[in-house]
């Protein structure tokens, strides 16, 4: 059994909305993430997929404590991350680093690449310029940015190169866990492939553990070893990559996979879609029972009253939250 790089237990993130007029009536809460438990193994890429509003980004931000989780436990490399405070938290911040979707927004336009990469080092207490420079040159080499570009500003780079700088910034403190939140979604296909290959290569080279968040199932299939599927704040299925795509089990996973277009006209014409009825319910007024029952083609009475929990299926190395999973 491999060791666990990141363990989250029953993690919840609720956002409270503004109180009603004069404080009358109950305050409304958006239940973005509800009691999610996941394990990221040492040296693996765990893909986290779901549609907009399913809570995947909230979960990612809660792990690095950009958003304070409402409840639950986060353990990174054996350290209880949620109980850390003050100076101790600051020191351990280097354990987990994040790459964001939009490199235009996540890099300070007034800082050079050198300054962008030096900042986390200084925050971690590394001030000797020789040591800093060596480290900066090392990560730039890793992400494929030529060393002579170190004094340039973000606007002088293309989108793909900027994302390389963002990845370098995440790597520079040698984190135990990387959270990548849609890191290729704003890139064109030809550049996207470069960044995906880069992530794959450095993950292998450094033995990184990565939580890769994306709405794009094809991208997740390419990169991830295991995949967790989220719907309305909950993980509904977790399985190995090949297993999940070959035999999706949860009705939502099945519908989601059937909707992803394939760049092959004959296959596209021959495919059977599993259409989903209606719209995704509001995370303020979650349906009773299984949150997916309002759109599920197989829902029956039990789904409307009881909530299925994520359970390991007997046949395979997979967990599903469904009373009638497809086998």
């Amino acid at each position: 059994m491999s060791t666990i790089a990141l363990r989250i237990e029953e993690l919840s993130v609720f956002y409270s909305l503004r109180k009603r007029l004069f404080g009358l009536g109950p305050a409304e809460t958006v239940k973005a993430v509800q009691s999610v438990s996941l394990e990221l193994r040492q040296g693996e890429i765990l893909g986290l997929v779901g549609e907009s509003g399913c809570g995947k980004s909230s979960l990612g931000k809660a792990i690095i404590r950009l958003i304070e989780p409402t409840s639950g436990k986060i353990e990174i490399a054996g350290v209880d991350f949620r109980s850390l405070k003050g100076e101790e938290l600051r020191k351990k911040r280097s354990f987990v680093q994040m790459v964001f979707q939009d490199p235009y927004a996540s890099l300070d336009p007034r800082m050079t690449v050198h300054a962008i990469l030096a900042e986390p080092l200084q925050a971690a207490g590394i001030f000797k310029s020789a040591e800093m420079n060596a480290r900066i040159m090392e990560v730039l080499g890793l992400v494929g940015i030529a060393k002579q570009n170190v004094h340039r500003y973000p606007h002088e780079f293309s989108g793909g190169q900027r994302q390389r700088v963002a990845i370098a910034r995440a790597l520079i403190l040698k984190p135990k866990v990387i959270i990548a939140d849609e890191p290729v979604s704003s890139l064109d296909v030809s550049v996207q492939a470069q960044i995906l290959n880069l992530l794959k290569d450095i993950q292998k080279e450094l033995g990184l553990s990565m939580l890769f968040i994306s709405h794009n199932l094809a991208v997740v299939k390419y990169l991830a070893d295991r995949i967790a599927v989220m719907y309305l704040g909950k993980v509904v299925e977790v399985a190995d990559q090949e297993e999940l795509f070959a035999h999706p089990s949860h009705p939502y996973t099945r519908a989601l996979l059937s909707a992803v277009p394939i760049p092959d006209p004959r296959k596209e014409k021959a495919r059977a879609r599993i259409p989903l009825k209606g719209e995704i319910p509001s995370p303020v007024n979650l349906p009773k029972g299984c949150a997916f029952h309002t759109r599920c083609p197989n829902a029956f009475d039990r789904c409307r009253t009881e909530t299925p929990s994520l359970e390991r299926t007997t046949a395979s190395n997979r967990e599903v939250a469904c009373f009638a999973p497809h086998v």
């Binding site: 492939a193 470069q194 995906l196 794959k200 709405h215 909707a259 006209p265 296959k267 995704i280």
Partner: protein
């Protein structure tokens, strides 16, 4: 052969900026037939959107200047020779357009009902009452439940998918012969995207409307397009029907694009990425714009842009190669 609804011939439109001339649309030709969908594929900056916007005269001129070409609607009307008033009559009645982000293209201050009624009142000169009846029918056709209530709502009260349905309803009220759809599903989730593609297909079958579908997603092209044009740096690289483009690919760019797209149906080893980035359109050289990133480039590619190589049944590739090496 189905009737040609739109024919674009040797269309050239450049931006004249202080930094120089940006060759955004350079010698582009294509045809769209009745009841068919033309997929226009390309990455950002390839000119796929600017091309459509410029012949519809939706871009400010200057900085845009149309240099040459013909854009023939319904076999006779040259859009490039129309006065602004003539174009206003054509847009919204014979040609409609839908956009990527429905929230920014719908007016947040107007109810959905009054927005749908607007083209009906202007182009078809319907009375308020008749326009309201037509608007209700239009919303019903795009699958919006409880039409009466929906007419009185504002765009922000709808989800992304529903807003795109409203946009489509609005675009279709005047029964256009041609719909220009600019990445209409890019901002939507895949399950909603599938619904919208189904909707467009069924409306097309019903009305025989021609669609120009702009997208960067080859999966979406495979799903909806009959004919395909691949654009790169303002130029057409390859054109053909969907079968030809996907199974008898002739241009190295199309091939590279297909190869570098992650897909869910097969296990891909290492993705063969296209190195480098697209060229700056204001500093284009004489030769093929893809030359810097092409795996099959030769000396001739640097100096001259190739003539079209013709393959069977209207399939064309702008490349010096005689077919793609295996």
């Amino acid at each position: 052969m189905a009737k040609t609804v739109l024919e674009v011939r040797n269309f050239q439109a450049f931006f004249h900026t202080r930094r120089g001339i940006v060759r955004a649309v350079d010698n582009v030709s294509f045809k769209v037939h009745e009841g068919e969908t033309l997929g226009v594929v390309g990455e950002s900056g390839s000119g796929k959107t600017v091309c459509q916007l410029s012949y519809l005269r939706l871009l400010p001129e200057p900085p845009l200047r149309i240099h040459s070409g013909e854009v023939i609607l319904n076999g006779s009307l040259d859009l490039l020779k129309q006065a602004p008033s003539g174009m206003r009559k054509i847009r919204g009645s014979q040609v409609s357009m839908i956009f990527q982000e429905p929230m920014t293209s719908l007016n947040p201050y107007m109810t959905v009902g009054s927005q749908i009624m607007e083209p009906l009142r202007i182009h078809l000169k319907l009375s308020r009452k008749d326009a309201a009846i037509e608007a209700a029918k239009a919303l019903d056709r795009v699958g919006i439940a409880d039409v009466k209530a929906a007419l009185g709502r504002y765009p922000h009260e709808f989800s992304g998918g529903m807003r795109q349905r409203v946009m489509i309803a609005m675009a279709l009220t005047t029964k256009p012969k041609l719909l220009i759809a600019d990445e209409p599903t890019t901002a939507l989730d895949v399950t909603v995207q599938a619904q919208i593609l189904d909707l467009l297909r069924s409306i097309q079958q019903e009305t025989g409307m021609a669609i120009v579908f702009i997208t960067h997603d080859l999966g979406v092209v495979a799903s909806i397009a009959h004919e395909v044009v691949v654009m790169y740096a303002g130029k057409v690289m390859e054109r053909g029907n969907a079968e030809q483009l996907f199974y008898q690919t002739q241009h190295p760019y199309t091939h590279a694009l297909l190869q570098s797209t992650p897909r869910i149906d097969i296990n891909q080893g290492k993705l063969p990425a296209i190195g480098g980035t697209p060229p700056d359109l204001s500093r284009l050289e004489q030769g093929c714009p893809f030359v810097g990133r092409c795996a099959h480039k030769r000396a001739i590619c640097e100096g001259t842009f190739p003539e079209a190589k013709l393959y069977p049944a209207g399939h064309e590739a702008y490349c010096h190669l005689e077919g793609l090496p295996a």
